[in-house]
Structures are given as C-alpha cells and as structure tokens.
Amino acid sequence: MSLPLVKMSAISKTFGPVIANDDVSLEIHAGEVLALLGENGAGKSTLMKILYGFYRPDGGTIQVDGSVAAFASPRDAMAHGIGMVFQQFSLVTALSVLENLLAALPGAPWLQLRRRPRVAEALRWLHRLAPNLDPQRPVRSLSVGERQLVELAKVLNLDARVIILDEPTSVLTPAETERLYGFIKSLAADGKAVVLITHKLADVAACADRITIMRGGKVVDRATKCDRSSDALVEAMVGVGSLGHLDPPAPMRGNLPILRVRNLAAEVQARTISSISFELAEGEIFGIAGVSGNGQFVLAEALAGLVPVTDGDVVLAGTSIASHSDDGAIAADVAYIPERPLDNAVVPDIDLCLNLALRTARDLAFFPSRRNIEDRASRLISDYDVRPPQSALLAAALSGGNLQKLVVARELSRRPRLVIACYPTMGLDVLASQAVYREIFRHVATGACVVWISEDLDDLMNYAHRIAVIHDGRIVGIVRREEADRQTLGRWMAGYSEESV
C-alpha cells in the first residue's frame, strides 16, 4: 500500500477525568473514504479535532506525507491541506454565498474587490457541487443541505487534500443525503482523502472504503468495506451483547379519541401552519413526516400550547390545551421534546438539577428543598445515562446527544397523556435511540398518545400507527402504517397530494 497521506500514532487526549482518546492510531490514504464509526462520546470528533489543530494531543504524533507535523491551530492544519466541516456551520447568514466564499479564501483582503479571477476562484468548487445554486443568494435563505455544500466548497477552496466531515448526514433530508454520498465518492475519485465521522451504518454502507470503529476512546476494530455485516459493525460499535431487542409498540387500545386537533392554524416568525385536523386514540403513535422547515416546529409548539393559535383548537381529554396569548404555558399532562433542545428545552446557564426540575417547578414549595431536587436529578441522570453524571454541571456544558437525553429524562419520567416528540433521537446513537423509543412505547402502553415528528421514514414506518406528511404548513395526507409505502410518502413530502396527481 502507498505511503499514507496522514498517519496519527498513539494519540491520547484527556479532558479532566475523561479519557477522550487512548492510544489511537490511524492512517488516512489519498483517494479513499475512511469512515470513523462509533457511538456518541466514542472519541471520533476529538480525534479529528486534534488532526484539525483544534485540540492539542496530550501524547502521540501526527505525520503528514511522512514528516512529523505539529498543529497549533486550524490555520496550521489548513496549511497542510487538512480541512474540516463541522456539525455547526460557520457561515455569515446575512451575507451572500459568494461573499462567504470570498471572505474564506486564503489571504482575503479586508476590502473585497470582486475581480473576476478571484470570484471564479471562490466559485470553482461550488459550481461543481451545486451548479444550480445562485451564489448571490443570502445564506439565510438556504436550506441546511445547501449550507452544508457551501461549507464544503469553502473547505475545498483551500486546496484541502484531507476533508473531514463531522456527522454530515445528521441534518440532511434523505434526498440531500443521497446527493452528498455522490459528492463524497467523487471527491475520493479525484484523489482526495475523505474522513467521514458518523454513527450511521447507512453512511458507511453508502460510501466508505475503509472503516475504523471507535468505542470509549479506543480503536476497537478496523475493517474494509465489505468484510463485516452491519450486525457485526453495530456489535463492535456498542460492545458485544449490550444491544437489546426493541419490541414494536403495542397496537392501539381502541378508537376512543383522546386528542382532537381541529382546523389548527398558527404562526411563528413568518412560518405558518393552517387547516391541521386529526384525532388520536389512546395509545396511538401518530408520525408526522416531512422535509424539515415545512411547519413542523410551529405545529409542535402550537400543540404544546407555547405559541398562540390563530384559528382552531387542540382538545386533550376534553380540555382545550391551545394557547390564545403570547404568554402561553404548557399543560401538565403534556410531555414535549422540542427540536434544538439548547434553544427550546433547557436553560443553558443553570445546572442540571434545576433543568430537570423545570416541569415541576411550579409545584415546588415556596422554599424548595435543594436536597430533594438534587436527589431526583441524580436518579434521572443515572436512569437516562446522561454523561457526565454531575448534577451540578451547567446544561450548556453537555454535548448535543446528552442534552437530548436530559430533556427526554425530564419529559418522559412523568406521566403524560400526550407526548409531543420532535426528532427525539437526533444526535443519539443506536443504544440511546433504542432507550428513547422504549420510553415512548412505555407511555403508549399505558394509554398516552404520541405525536412524533421525524424525518426518518424507516423508523416511522416501523413504529408509528399512522403516518401523516406535512408540507408547507398543511397536512398533505395521512396513511395507516400497513398501507404506507415510501413512494407515496416521498411524493407527499414533495408536496403532491392525491388530488393533484
């Protein structure tokens, strides 16, 4: 085999008591896609941030083209041709695509002159990646998938030879994901090295040439594309024997409707939903599919009673739970797992104890007992495996997946009659996702109904009793799980309803 482009040897890194990387070695070759597979907290991102110069390793060496290199900052790494696309994008949303790309070019002057060669240089990769994207559009108006392509073009503009993608498909729709796989393969065919950090087997199956599996900060297995079954990969990822079997939810108990949503309309920041009507029976899981940004957030907030409805009503077990003022509150028997938990579900600058006590805060004594709050928090943290298990930590210090677990713990540890779950497993690995589903099914078994907003058609078709598709603020169609097929759902997601076909 040829000389590796990058060789990381015996890398170790600790954050306080946490060992993030323990004696990790890795080789990255030109012209191939290396998948770095592992659960949340396995140390994949840390390892790649070390390569990108974002962190400095406590021990070990990095060789680029056979000579030892030490990166003090991402700038050094970029000078060696290593670029990284993060989960959170670093684009200026008020500027146009072109302006973002120009500003990121090496040696960008403070005064941007739009000389033609410079513009051509800035746009050369974008034209290949997204020929239909108008570079004059402000980044604000782009979808998440388009933003990711701009971010990728930015990194490629720096003549990167090694491109690291951190969980790139976690924010994409299925169609965008397919397109990204194509780009990744074409980049590798161009002789670039691509490192794909992921916990999804679909990513690995679609485009990885080699696979390195990490667990608990160590490399536990290496494989090439076809010599492992997906079961074997999962087992390597989570550890042998730790993956349980997930029973599908019990069938509905009857047809007694407990939630009635009638002609609902609402608006949040110029996003509207209208004419939403459905009824849910006890123990029913109602999946809502759709391309993100089609009103899912407004629908969830309106159902939860957190934004005022402009028309219609939401009635849970005979009581209206819709809000008609700005100062809306959520009903006690509704569990709500919103999207983007850091913005919508936790207070970042208070500790985990109080964050976990939030939903019951109104019922606390006038002078609440700190010990009771702490005891309850510690119990929830260990039950739901929130890491690190320190209840005094500020919520802002948790990673995305652990924040998600924190919110799930708070919302599902009570006894709700209605569960509103938006992308409840986003950012979670296989084991944690299973645990969340199991929690939801537990409530379903006791008669709660669930509104489950997701983009994952496979999971929806496996676990939801009925599936609705939302497009542009309206429900395009509703279908029972047994009668659902991907083609119809996909057509609905694109906005074609039965009548218009």
Binding site: D327, A329, D349, L354, L358, A361
Partner: protein
C-alpha cells in the same frame, strides 16, 4: 477557599490598590498631599459617630436604588430608572402632604410613605409593562422616564405646589412633623436605612432559597423554557419592576421627608445612577450591596466635609468615586479573566 472566593479576594485587593494609586496621583495633581487627604477623607467618612451617621444618610437612598436595579437584573432586565422612580415617589408622597397637611401622624405618615412607594412602583411598572407586553427595551424607557419624572417635580414646585411662604424659592410646603419620617438615635439617620437593610435581607433570602429565585433564573436564562415550566415572563417582569420601583420611590419620599423637609429641586444628587453602579459593583447581590452602598455613602459625605473644611472642591469626591468604580469593576474583570485562564 474555592476559586470564586479567590477571584473575589484578588479583585478586592487589586482594585483597592489601583484605586489608591490613582487617587494619590489625582490628589497630588490638584496640589493636595495625597496620603493626608485620603486619611482625612476616611476620618470624615467613618471617623466619629457624626461622620458615620452622615455617611449612612447618604448611603440610604443609594442602597434602596441599588436594590431597585438588582432585583430586575436577576430577571435579566437592565434598568437605569432609579433616579426617576425616586423623584416620582417623592412627587406622589408629597401629593398626600399637600392634600392633607393637617392629618394625624398615625394616618398621614403611613399614607405618605405608601404613596411614595406606590408612585415609584407605578413609574417602574410602566416600563415593565412596556417591556413585557410591547417588547420596549427597558433600559431606554427607564432612562427616558428619568427626565420626565425630574421635570414633573420641577413643574409642580414652580407651579401648583409652590409654597407661597417661600418667597419665590421653588419648593413645596414644609412637611409637618406628622409627615416626617422618624430619625434614629437623634441623628439624621432615618427609617429608610432600616427598611433598606431589611429589604436586602428579605430579597436575598427569597431569591436565593425560594422558588421565586428559580423562576427568575429560568426566565432570565431562556424565556421560552420558562413558559414550559409554567413561569410567566409578563407577571415576573411586572413583579420585579414594581417591587424595585417601590423601593426607589420609598427612597425618594424618605429623602424628601426626613432630609430635605420639603419637595424641592436637587432632591437627589445622582442617587439613582450611583445605586446602579453599586448594583453592578455588588455583582447583583443584595447583601453585598449594603456595605458597598455604605462605603460609597461615606465617600460622598467625606467629599462634602472636605469642601467644607479643606477647601477641596466637592467635585473631587465625585471624581474619586468614579475612580473607585472603574478600579473595582476593572479589577474584577481582570481577575475573572486571569482565573479562567490559569485557575
């Protein structure tokens, strides 16, 4: 000793040292012997019982105005309206005196004090209502309402309420003894100080250990999540603004009644703004505001005494006060940065 304590100690020492050096340079520059003048100031501020009592007199409205800033700050609101609330409280309290100058003390004094507190609460609550319901920035509205309140007071003392016996001097009638806030121990120190300290204690306990404090922290951290927890931003905003305003209004009517004896211009020498600075100096902590307000009160009192006895202009005390604030806030910022980098 934990990290936060170490930072605080470091900031206190560093800030004091920086202040002393700056003050010495300033005093030398205006031709006064620095060490002696500073020593004199300390004596004029806290040297004997009379100086101490005068310092406490100055500290009283500052403390109350500081509390009126700290409480909204716990909800993430930045108000600079202490001055206006103080003036408006003085105005409404005086309205009672002007209307019923001959009332019996057991009715008149409580009514006057209550009216002052309600006036301040109304003035501050109006800004709170605008913030909660119409999303008007409370810093701007409270700042502008300061001017309105001061000018309203001017309007009545030059007009309707001008005391005919005052020979053209713009002031209301003198407060009758039945409307005069009792002073303590035969000094000019009055009931306001006691109320201020008790209010600081109650607010500290309520906000630190109570459910109320949780509501304030949650709402200031993430208003949306506050709604999920069932806390109402509108209600809490009105609550903290009116409680804060009532304290500042109470300071205004106490100052009018106990110190000035009548409503007149120049009721406050920037107590509202000084209270704001004390609030920030205390790190928005109710209890820490008490000694800091007394310290600043001492500095102001010493400035007055210096002008009287040593012919140093009293403005130099204001300059020294500014130096103290800059030194203290700067030292705390630096200490915080230092500890986050090396601690």
């Amino acid at each position: 000793m934990n990290g936060a304590d170490r930072v605080r100690l470091l900031a206190a020492c560093g800030g004091s040292a920086a202040f002393l050096i700056a003050a010495a340079i300033f005093l030398a520059a205006i031709g006064r012997p620095p060490l002696m003048t500073l020593g004199q100031m300390a004596l004029y501020a806290f040297g004997d019982s009379y100086s101490l009592s005068e310092s406490l007199v100055k500290a009283t409205p500052i403390l109350l105005c500081a509390l009126a800033v700290i409480l909204p700050a716990r909800l993430g609101l930045i108000t600079v309206g202490g001055e206006g609330q103080l003036y408006f409280g003085a105005l409404t309290g005086t309205a009672i005196v002007v209307s019923f100058p001959n009332g019996p003390m057991f009715l008149l004094l409580p009514a006057v004090l209550l009216a002052g507190a309600i006036g301040g609460a109304f003035w501050s609550g109006a800004a709170g209502f605008l913030r909660a319901r119409c999303n008007v920035n409370e810093t701007i509205s409270t700042l502008l309402m300061n001017y309105v309140a001061v000018l309203l007071v001017n309007y009545v003392i030059y007009g309707a309420w001008k005391d005919p016996a005052s020979l053209g001097w713009p002031a209301s009638i003198a407060f009758p003894p039945a409307a005069t806030v009792p002073s303590l121990f035969g000094t000019r120190v009055h009931l306001g100080l006691v109320v201020g300290v008790i209010a600081a204690l109650i607010l500290h306990v309520g906000v630190t250990y109570g459910r109320w404090g949780i509501a304030l922290r949650v709402l200031s951290g993430n208003r949306k999540v506050g709604a999920m927890a069932g806390f109402s931003f509108v209600r809490q905003t009105l609550l903290v603004m009116t409680i804060g305003g009532s304290l500042a209004g109470f300071a205004g009517i106490c100052e009018t009644s106990a110190i000035q004896g009548r409503l007149q211009a120049g009721l406050s020498v920037g107590y509202g703004l000084t209270g704001f600075l004390v609030a920030w100096l205390s790190g928005q902590n109710f209890l820490r505001a008490v000694p800091i307000a007394i310290l600043i009160g001492g500095l102001i009192a010493a400035g007055d005494a210096l002008q009287l006895y040593s012919k140093v202009p009293s403005a130099s005390a204001t300059i020294l006060q500014g130096m103290l604030f800059v030194a203290a806030l700067g030292a705390r910022g630096l200490a915080g940065r230092w500890s986050s980098r090396y601690g």
